[in-house]
Amino acid sequence: AQTVTQSQPEMSVQEAETVTLSCTYDTSESNYYLFWYKQPPSRQMILVIRQEAYKQQNATENRFSVNFQKAAKSFSLKISDSQLGDTAMYFCASSTGSARQLTFGSGTQLTVLP
């Protein structure tokens, strides 16, 4: 079974600053995928970034990047130049080829302060 742990229930950051959200996971699979989703107050879950475990290069999407440490089973999300619109709940998730659904962490509420 997979587990995903987010140990920071809440975080805040000043606008234009950089913030890192932590996530650890546990899986016995060798092939798996990791995701960060954003859920603003509108409730719409939005895929932010995806990482394939067999790729060593960290994924990057504009201001969002990950620090994937496979041996440590760590998958943190870095948001650069934070914007007010980044205020949201952020969920880390994992999937494997054998498990057909994503397993989600408990979320981190990020607030960007003006």
């Binding site: 995928y33 995701f35 989703y37 509108s42 409730r43 719409q44 879950m45 939005i46 895929l47 995806r50 969920f91 999937s95 080829g97 057909r100 659904q101 994503l102 397993t103 989600f104 962490g105 408990s106 979320g107």
Partner: protein
Amino acid sequence: GAGVSQSPSNKVTEKGKDVELRCDPISGHTALYWYRQSLGQGLEFLIYFQGNSAPDKSGLPSDRFSAERTGGSVSTLTIQRTQQEDSAVYLCASSWDSNYGYTFGSGTRLTVV
């Protein structure tokens, strides 16, 4: 359609009544998922449909919960004899391959009074 559509957006029901929640996935997505999100909590897997295969019902919390997917498209989640602990946001998602992530709907907020 362009996205995953869920209806209603909000539903208030009396304890003991049955409710139906609807999900219309993205055209061409063979996989459809239902998750439950209680206040301030993460996402709890409920049920998964893949094409014409038997659904994975392993996440349904009790036999009061059921779901069906007609014609490989629209899905309905039914909760019978609702209880106050059923109050939550019910999220539907669809995908062509879960390893590429899901597209979620905006959810139905269910309140049982």
